[in-house]
Symmetry: C2
Subunit: 328 residues, 2 copies
DNA sequence: TTGTATGCGTTATCAT
DNA sequence: ATGATAACGCATACAA
C-alpha cells in the first residue's frame, strides 16, 4: 500500500504540487474554488500530509518537548494541559517523553526530545544536578518546572515559603517537637528542608531532619525511626507520599492521626483530600506552571537573548484534619 | 547555528557520507578502525543523527504509538512501562500522545500517531464506539487495552468475571440489596454492568443499576440517590473513583463504612490500598497488558494476515476492610 | 493565482 | 570495504 503524495493529488486535480502544498497550509494565493477541489480530491484519494517530510523541508517543528520525570506522578496531567493549551495558542504542539524515576532515565528523555528537534523543552521534574541542566539549556531553550534552578529558566512553587507555612501552622497549635522527613541530601530539591530548618529556628525550636527516598514505604520507615527515638515528635512535616507512609505506620501501631501524631504534607495530592485521609497539605499550582512555561518559551523563542528567570509561585496551606494541638 | 550533517563528518574523516551512515547504524561493511574515527569525529563536531531525515529516507519508524485516554489515569504508567520494555526488545520505541477525557479528544491522539507514522497504535482506554475503532484498525495495526472490542485486537481484564467476584463476595457475607453504580449506558465499557446483573440474577437477587459519569463527584451523587431511596442498599459495587465518592457521601452523612454501607471497588487503584480508605477492590493488570500489547504488535507486524484476538485477563478480588456483613 | 527549481539530511541501490 | 546517485515527500524561494 503505497503512500498517497501531494503529486498524486495534484495530478488528480490537474494543478501543480505547489498549489496543493499551499492549499494544505491555507497559505494565501489559492483560489477558494481550487482549494475546494484539492481538499476534495485529497479526501477521495485518502491523502494525508506527511508531517515528517514537512518537518524536514521546513526545518522547524513548532513543537515543545515535555519531559516527565515519572509518568505516574499526579502532577503531570495539569502541567501538560496548562502547557498544551497555552502552546497551542502560539501554534506549537507538545511532544511528550515520559520516564520512570527509579530508572534515572532523564537523559534519554532529553535526547528523545532533541531527536525530534523540539524548539524548546520543558522539564516536569528533574533529578539532574544543576550543572547538567545548565548544559542542556545550552543546547536547547529549557524551562524547568517544579524546581528552581539558578541560571536556568524555571518555574516552581516557593518550597521554602511552603515549608515555613507548614511549620508555623504547627507551632501555632503548640507543637514543639516537629520533625521533617526530607528527600535524600543529594536530591536537588532542598528548599523544603531549608524552609523547615529556618522556620524551626525562627520559632526557637531545634530542627530534626530525617532523609528518605521518595514514596510511601521509605516514609513509613523514617516515621518508625522518629517514633522510636527518645523524644518522639508530636508532628511530622513531609511530602504527601511520605505522609501516606507515615499514616500507614501509625495505623499499624494503633496510633491515631492526628491525636497521637499530627501530619502536614506537601503537594496537596488527590489522596490528601480524601475523607479518611484528610491530610493538611501545601499546594502546588500545576496548571499555572504549565501555562507559565509556555509563555516563557514564547518569549525566549522571540528573543533568545533574554536573561533567564526563576519564577516562584505562592504556596498556600490547605488545612484539613491531620493536625491538632499536641497532647503532651 | 547551523546543523552538523553527515557530510560534515564525512569530510572531516575523509570518507564518503555513506560510510558515515553505515557506521552510525552499525551496519556491516565498515572496518572497525574507520568506524572509530567516524564516531570520534562526530563527537568532536557535535554531530547528531537527524532522526527526522532518517525516518523520511528509510520510510519506517519502528515506533509504536501509545494513546492515553487521559494523562491523569493511574493505570497509564504501568501500561507504558510494560509496553515500552517489551517493545524495546523488538527494536521499537514508544511514542506517547496523551489526552484529557472530558475533552473527548481521542481522534486527535490517533491523528497524532498516524502523523508520526507509527507502525502500530496501542489505545490505553477508549471511549470511541466499536465501529470507530474498527475503522482505525483498518488504517493502522491497532491494539486496544483495558477494553474488549469485537473484531479488534484487544487486551483487558475480564470485567464480567470481576464484577461477578465482587457480587459473590458480598452475597456470601449476606448482602441482598446490592446496588451498582455504572458508567453511563453509552460508554463502551459494559461488561462490568453485565457481570453485576448476571451475578445478581444467579444469586436470585434483583439488580439495581444507577449510571454516573466517571469520577468521585458523580459517584457521590449516585450514592445519595441510592441511600435516599425506599429500600437503600446495604452494599454498593462500583469503580474505585466512584467508590471514593461514595465514601465522601457517607462521611458527610455520618455513615460508617463498612458498618452502615459496604463498598467493593474496581481497578484496585493506589488510593484503595491506603489505610483509612482500605477499599476492597478488583484488580487490573496494567503492566502485563502493556507487555501483551507489545507482543501482539510484534506478531501482527510479522504476519499482518493474523486474525484479531481478544485477550481476557483473570481478575482477582483484593479483600480489604470496606466490606462486612449487613446489619439489617 | 499558479508553476519551476532546488534543498532538507538521510537511506537504498547498485557499483567499484 | 567504500562510494556515486537517486529517492523520500514536502517547503521555500522566485519566476510566470
Amino acid at each position: 500500500m503505497k503512500r498517497v503524495t501531494m503529486d498524486d493529488v495534484a495530478r488528480e486535480v490537474g494543478v501543480s504540487r505547489m498549489t496543493v502544498s499551499y492549499a494544505f497550509r491555507d497559505a494565501p494565493g489559492v483560489s477558494a474554488e481550487t482549494k475546494m477541489r484539492i481538499i476534495d480530491a485529497a479526501k477521495r484519494l485518502g491523502y494525508r500530509r506527511d508531517v515528517i517530510a514537512s518537518l524536514l523541508a521546513s526545518n522547524r517543528t513548532n513543537t515543545v518537548g515535555l519531559s516527565l520525570l515519572d509518568l505516574s506522578f499526579e502532577i503531570n496531567a495539569e502541567i501538560l494541559y496548562g502547557l498544551r493549551d497555552a502552546a497551542k495558542r502560539d501554534g506549537r504542539r507538545v511532544f511528550i517523553s515520559a520516564g520512570e524515576m527509579e530508572r534515572r532515565d532523564e537523559p534519554e528523555r532529553l535526547e528523545d526530545l532533541l531527536d525530534v528537534r523540539a524548539d524548546a523543552v520543558v522539564l516536569a521534574g528533574s533529578l539532574l544536578p544543576d550543572a547538567a541542566l545548565l548544559k542542556y539549556a545550552d543546547r536547547v531553550p529549557l524551562v524547568v518546572v517544579t524546581r528552581r534552578v539558578q541560571g536556568v529558566d524555571s518555574i516552581a512553587v516557593d518550597d521554602h515559603k511552603g515549608a515555613c507555612l507548614a511549620v508555623e501552622h504547627l507551632v501555632e497549635l503548640g507543637h514543639r517537637r516537629i520533625a521533617h522527613i526530607s528527600s535524600p541530601a543529594w536530591y536537588p530539591y532542598t528548599a523544603r528542608r531549608d524552609g523547615y530548618v529556618d522556620a524551626m529556628k525562627a520559632a526557637g525550636l531545634s530542627p530534626r531532619v530525617l532523609e528518605a527516598e521518595f514514596g510511601q514505604t521509605p516514609g513509613a520507615a523514617a516515621a518508625a525511626l522518629l517514633l522510636d527515638s527518645a523524644e518522639p515528635p508530636t508532628a511530622i512535616f513531609c511530602q504527601d507520599q511520605a505522609a501516606l507512609g507515615v499514616r500507614d505506620l501509625c495505623a499499624s501501631r494503633g496510633l491515631h492521626v492526628p491525636h497521637d501524631l499530627s501530619i502536614v504534607g506537601f503537594d496537596d495530592t488527590h489522596a490528601a483530600s480524601l475523607p479518611g485521609i484528610d491530610l493538611t497539605s501545601v499546594t502546588q499550582q500545576a496548571r499555572l506552571m504549565g501555562e507559565l512555561a509556555a509563555h516563557r518559551i514564547e518569549r525566549k523563542l522571540r528573543n533568545p537573548a533574554l536573561p533567564t528567570e526563576q519564577t516562584l509561585l505562592e504556596p498556600s496551606l490547605i488545612v484539613r484534619g491531620s493536625v491538632v494541638a499536641p497532647n503532651n
